[in-house]
Each structure stands twice: as C-alpha cells, then as structure tokens.
C-alpha cells in the first residue's frame, strides 16, 4: 500500500515541488543586494550540486559496494549503480553549467583552476569513465565487477571535493548554507525556498532513477525475449 502510494505520488510531488521552487525563487524571494537577480541561482546550483555529489553518486557507490559484498551480490545492485551513475553524470554536468553561469558575473570567468571546480570536473570525468568502462565490457559479470570497483575508487573523490574549500584557499563559496557548526546563515523565506529546492531536486533524482531503472528492466526483458529466439536459431544450426 505504502509502496504503491509512493510509486504513484513520486512524479506528481516532484513536479509540484519543482514548480514551487521556481515560483518562490523567481517571484517571492527578494533579489540580492550585491548580485541582484543572479543570486537566484542559489536555489538551483547548491541543490543540483548536492544531488550530484551526495545523493546520486552516493547511491551509485552504495549500490556498487553492495554488489561487491558477496551476500548482497545481485544484478539489481549493478543496475541501480549504473542508472544512478548515469543520472549523476547529468547532474554533475548541470552543476558545472550552473556554476559557470554564476561564475561569469561574480568572478569574471567561466572557469578557474580552483580546487572545488577542478575536483568537480574530475568527478565528472570519473562518471564518464565509468560509463565508458561499462561500454567496453560485454560480459555481464565482468562489467558488473569492474564498474563496481571503479565506482568505489571514484567515491574517494567526494570528500575531497567537499573539504577542498577548507583545505585550499579557493575562489568558490565556502560552506555558506550550512556551516560546520550546522547553523543556518540565511533566514526567512529564502531559507525555506532553499530547503524546498533541495527536497525537489532530491525527489527529481529518485524519479529519474526509477524511470531509468524501468527502462533498463524493459530492455533486459526484451533481451530475454530475443534470447529464446536466438537460442532456437542457434540450435537449428546443428540440424541443418
């Protein structure tokens, strides 16, 4: 019952929250004193980055870990890892794009050799490399193992990105939204909008993940259906 409800509701709720974020972000919250309307990117960029780094990359990492652990090894985990990583690649690219758009007016450049930006880009390459690795192996089991190990190795990068702003003096914003003491630095409607944006993008991720997973499942089913035919044809070869 709960499961059914959540399945039915995930899509609509995501849409509503995204719409709410847009409405609050554009019409309700005030423009920033210094940055003007550009500051509204704060309702997109951090949320997208959060999803890219923690939610989706984290999902992919955990699923990969579960695949490698003998007891929980199953193709489901492999598929989840694959789909999550694909979505993650999209979100990392979105992070880079929104960040660049924001960076042009605030820092005067699209790109800088800043530790956080660079490490984010490197994470993006990790995600792309993961997808390339999957393409290069067509033995199902080999592919699953290799990509799982690779995902685990890539995950080491995530904490580096997070702490990069503290370890290296950088251009990028320090932790402004949530400081290390977990106090909220911005208030009122802005804080609420920010919170809603985080929830909305997180739900968007799970929605996309589910859609992608189903697609993969359907593809596998189709392959399985084709398999019967292929088997029959292969067996007929002998008779001829």
């Amino acid at each position: 019952m709960m499961k059914l409800l959540s399945q039915r509701l995930l899509g609509p709720v995501t849409l509503v929250l995204l719409a709410l974020t847009v409405w609050l972000g554009i019409w309700v919250t005030p423009p920033d004193r210094i940055q003007g309307n550009l500051a509204r990117l704060v309702y997109v960029h951090p949320a997208v980055a959060w999803v890219a780094l923690y939610v989706s990359f984290g999902t992919a990492t955990i699923a990969s870990g579960l695949y490698l652990w003998r007891r929980t090894r199953s193709m489901v985990m492999d598929r989840v890892a694959h789909c999550a990583m694909e979505v993650s690649a999209v979100f990392i690219i979105l992070t880079l794009i929104t960040g660049s758009i924001w960076g042009r007016p605030t820092w005067g450049v699209w790109w800088a050799w800043d530790a956080r930006l660079t490490s984010t880009a490197i994470l993006g390459v990790f995600a792309l490399a993961y997808l390339a690795l999957r393409r290069a192996n067509d033995d199902v089991e080999v592919r699953a193992r290799r990509s799982a190990v690779f995902a685990l190795l890539a995950a080491i990068n995530v904490p580096i990105i997070h702490f990069s702003v503290q370890w290296w003096k950088t251009l990028h914003q320090n932790a402004t939204v949530f400081t290390s003491t977990r106090t909220l630095l911005i208030h009122g409607i802005m804080a609420w909008t920010l919170l809603i944006s985080f929830v909305a993008f997180t739900l968007l991720f799970f929605w996309l993940l589910r859609a992608r997973y189903r697609l993969e499942e359907a593809r596998d089913e189709e392959v399985a259906r084709g398999l019967e035919e292929a088997l029959a044809e292969r067996q007929r070869e002998g008779v001829r």
Partner: protein, 222 residues
C-alpha cells in the same frame, strides 16, 4: 588438486547451460556429466561450440543461464578464479610469457607453485624441447609452442585438462607423445576433455565421444 574426489564421481555437471556473449548464444543449452578419470573427446563441425564448451568448463566465460558445477565450484556463483586454479588449458595461443625463454617460463611456474625448480629440465626433456630451453617463447615454432604448453601443464598437474585441438601443429612424434600423456593422466585420476576434428589416437581406446552442433550436445557416445 588437494581435493581428490573419488574416481568415477562426476567432475563436472552442466544442466541447460547457456553462454551468451554479446547477445549471441555460444552454447544453447548443454546437459553433460563428466566422470572423474575419464577421457572425453568433443567433436562437431566448425562453429558448433566446442571451444566455447571448454571455455565454460575452464571458467573463462560466465554461465548466463542454467546450472553448472565443475571441480566442486558452482559456476552460477561466479567463483571462476577458484575454478581456474584447478583446470589446465591448452589453446592455440599458449599460456606463457613470450619474452621469456622456455626454461624461464617453466621456472616461473614452478616457483609460483612452490615446486622444486629441478623438475623443469626433466619436463622439458619429456616434451623434447631441451634443445630450445633458452629460446624465447615467441621464437619457437608453432609445434614447439604447443609442446611448451604441454610442459606447462605437466608441471601444474591440474585436476581437469581442457585441450583445444591438441593435434594441431604437432608432428607425428608429438601426437603419439600426446596420446600417451592423456592416457597416463587419466589413469592417474585426472579428467581430460579434448576437442578435435582429427581422429585421435586415444579415441580408439577408452574415450567417450561427445558430438556437438548448434551449441548443444547432439550425440553422446558414452
């Protein structure tokens, strides 16, 4: 090697084994039981799936559907590394290092297996390669490479011998040496699976002949 199963008890059992590579079924449902200490010859037309069957038995490809147990290892659970330790493989390529000499290759194998290195010279003698002991493996002739492959297997003494077209490239002397070897090995309790187009010397003897076609076993002369 350590787990010497009772002779006669099955070394390998496959039920409905399917191997898919890139969506194509190399094997399309193989049912087979191989008893320990026997010699089995797999025949069939080109592309019938002989090499694929041997590769499955050796843990070199994954089982896509069906069940299989080889040398006590469950193929479906993906412990192929474990399996590979117990089987010996002789294919067209040769499983040794091209830049090392024949003797160096075998010495490495002996060291890795913690066997006395003195066995190397003796094994080389048996396959008639003593004169080429110091020649780099890549410079050996086709038949000499085959012989080196046999020497490597002799050192390893695996539980299950998988030999893909062993007669290819071997000269007359090599072939009769091979026949003797196979009978010895089987007598010592190991199981031998050979794929072949030729009529082997051993076929006339005790061997069981398995004919494949279209990725399946179509005739089993056990």
């Amino acid at each position: 090697m350590s787990v010497a199963e009772a002779p006669g008890s099955p070394v390998a059992t496959l039920t409905g084994a399917v191997v898919l590579v890139g969506g194509f079924p190399l094997l399309s449902g193989v049912d087979l039981t191989l008893a320990g200490g026997t010699v089995n010859v797999v025949t069939g037309a080109n592309g019938a799936g002989k090499t694929s069957l041997l590769r499955l038995l050796g843990g070199l490809v994954a089982l896509s559907r069906g069940e299989g147990r080889v040398c006590g290892v469950d193929l479906a659970r993906g412990e192929r590394l474990e399996l590979r330790r117990r089987v010996g493989w002789l294919g067209h390529e040769g499983s040794f290092y091209d830049d090392l000499s024949a003797a160096e290759n075998l010495t490495f194998a002996a060291r890795a297996l913690a066997r006395p290195v003195t066995g190397v010279a003796e094994v080389l003698e048996r396959v008639h390669l003593s004169a080429r002991a110091d020649t780099a493996a890549k410079r050996l002739s086709a038949g000499q490479r085959r012989r080196l492959g046999l020497a490597w297997l002799l050192l390893r003494r695996p539980q299950l011998w998988l030999l893909d077209e062993p007669y290819a490239s071997l000269d007359v002397g090599g072939r009769s040496f091979f026949d003797g070897l196979v009978l010895d090995v089987a007598a010592a309790g190991a199981t031998v699976v050979v794929s072949a187009h030729d009529t082997l010397g051993v076929s006339s003897a005790s061997a069981r002949t398995i004919r494949m076609a279209g990725g399946r076993v179509v005739e089993d002369g056990s």
